[in-house]
Amino acid sequence: MIKTIKIACLLTGILTLCVDATAQQSNPVEHDQHEQHKTRNDKHHDHSGHSMSQESGSASDHLHEHNKDHSIVDKTHEHAIDHSQHSDESTEHGDLHHHHHMDHDHIMDHEGTMIMGQNIDKLPSSCKSISEEKEITVRAGRKYAAKFPGTMFAFDQQEWRVKPCSKVTFHFINEDQIRHQFMMHGLPKYLYKYGMFHLEVTGPKTVSGTIIVPGSDDTFLVHCDISHHMEKGMKAQLVVGKGGENIPSIPGLTPYNINDIYEAENLPKVSDKAEQSAVVRQITTALTKSDTQNYLMILIGALVGLLSIPLIKKMMPSKKTEN
């Protein structure tokens, strides 16, 4: 088993070396990430670090991402790709190798784009096989908070449902110009360090990562852990099968544990300024005085009471007959 993995690693390593070399010679092939590639090139200041060979540097970056995103489909071992590229870059681009970090569950590029706790092949003990393969696109940004008053950041959806034992690839699209995270908690710790799966990216940019969900029904917290992003709306849940207990204070989905107290504000209104005759204005101002309002309410209450007398009268005899 280990041997075959080793061979696979070696092969993919050689393959990426070849592809890398060709990519550096020719123009980068059109990928679905072309747009990001462009925006990255536009930001010259971010790339001035690659002064030694900017063009090939970004090309290999591009390729690197390409590989990252398709490695799952290609059934290759991701870490192997990273390692081979790593050594390649270090010889070719000097300092560039510093930008790519990886150990068994932590992959990071030079802009801080991060995949942590990814699991593409280890089956949870509660699963015999993978039930289905699913791709979920998650968008994050301030604009998704617009439909939830009193929040500032949000995901485009607040709940995702998957089958137990399914292999889920999340494409996390950050549409803001700051960092956001897609952080999942409570996963089995023997497969996921600290029970966490974590995607992080500074937008506008996309990062993808894969997990295999456990075989039992459960609900997992998904949030952005940047200070007060979760508190201000960036919170959701992943429901596996029938799900477990709901996570509180997800915008539009579950109630808050602790609520703020809201009171009516004395806000200026257009109607305040509307042209009114002196008499009408006098009457309305008199009526809006709190004392008058109170008396008015008492009067209304009394009227309601008087009107309801016949009703009570009707009810009383019927009770009597029951007795």
Partner: protein, 571 residues
Amino acid sequence: MPNPILIVILIFYLAFTAVGAQASLLLPKTIKVDRAALTAEPPCDPKISPAWREAQVIDGVKIEASPGCNPDNPAWIAAAVKGTNNISMDTLMKTGLSPDTIIKTDDLDGDGDPDRIIIKLEVMELNGKSPDFPGILPTFDIAPGVQPGAWVFAPKTSGMSTENFESVRANPLLRLPAPVIRVEQGDIVQIILENTHYFPHSIHLHGVDHPFTHKEHGGNDGVPQTSEIELMPGERRVYEFQARQPGTMFYHCHVQTHTHLSMGLAGMIIVEENRPNNWLQTLNIGGGHVRHPSVAIREKFDQEYDLHYHAMDKELGDIIKKYNDPRLIARDMNQRYDITDSTEDYYTINGLSFPYSLRESLIIVKPDQKIKLRLLNSGGETIAIHTHGHHATITHYDGVEHNPVAQIMRDVFDMAPAQRLDLTLDTTNDGKHSYGEGDWLIHDHREKGITTNGMAEGGSMSSIVYTSYLGEDGLPKTSHFGIDLSNYFTQEFWQRRVPIWQDLDEVASLGSPAGQIISMDITTQNYLLNALYGLVAGLLIYFIFAKREYFKQCAMAAISRVRSDKGSKQS
């Protein structure tokens, strides 16, 4: 019947109270607070390795020794000097910084140091309300248990904003004050503000030579009334400058400045003189000792310290502890909070108050040294910093050198809000510059400056301590005088629950007197009250039940009367 029972209980209670009050002819006894009842902390943060104090070289960056209790993480310093783009992945992982936080490239003048500097800052909230549990997060203490609501510019980080998922304590990079920024004269500097906060913000570079507008990035002065619109949550803005003059300067948020500055969005920015091979420590996180000083400073001084004085209003910070909804926080801060009716409650040096200031902001000196002190007052009032045992020389006001022949020596340094002073502290024992070795206080001499929400001794107090007076643990040696600082390291002290003089003598002559009334804690009081409510409710039910026939009759009578009235009307 229950009535006699109630009466009996009442009589017994009154009798006991009377006996208690009459018990003795002596005044009440002194109750000494048991040390074991206090929530005590070790004087040094146990999470910080003593190995960080040593002089060391990381990734080729020389880092000076810093013998204080809680020195800066040496990996932070290495990353700040070389840039996060140039250090090893291993070092970067020890910082918690994002790989693009500090990008240093292009030696434009060919003098051996990078001249294009990019610094990325985020805006982080500390001690804000959670909708999930009755508490605040991420927590940051300026003194034990003292957690004012605050906002800071933080270097762009990677990962969680708390220490870990189980903890609510802030990641060490998220702290007061905003980091001290150091750049070189002539560097092309970009400060990129990534607004991760839920409110609009900006950066104003007070005193730094910067263009009012930049041809690529637009408005560059950070003022929403003159040069640019507010930077909204989720957005990014570049502030670019190439400073022609060196000096100690100031950067802060200029959106709703009367609240945002006090909330903590303020930091020092220092332009260092241009020198060959001048790799600067771009960020001094948490201020204090500069462990990799610039070439110009090393030419003239033995050591350098950044001392950022700040003041915060408790009532202002409490707004983010009261509400979670950003609209309510905005309403209370912008429309209801009135700074003209406010008072400052927390006084900090480098983001902390005494005794935490002893952990990080000691000025640790040896005899016959010359030390560069850079002071900033970002509070709302003038302060008066007094150096015990020393007269220091003011060399620069607001980043501009004072005429060398006219420079003066003082021992009280008054600083208006936003003012900067550069001081030279000379530890030559001549009775004027220094009176000799010791653990000499340095404090704001407005007396409220040595309090924390009115509780003394707190505030921005720290010490100029000679190494002969420094203990193994990095704190000043005080125990040989019989001094015990452990009370200051308890939460109860700052909750005003410890009689501070109780331990000054054996009999605790200034301890806390016992109360005279039969003391009853709140839970038993509640039990008894609830029992009483139950009794009353029971009596009421019994009364209604017993008299139910009477009530029925009354109701019937009323109804029949109404009916007959109506009947008569109809007829």
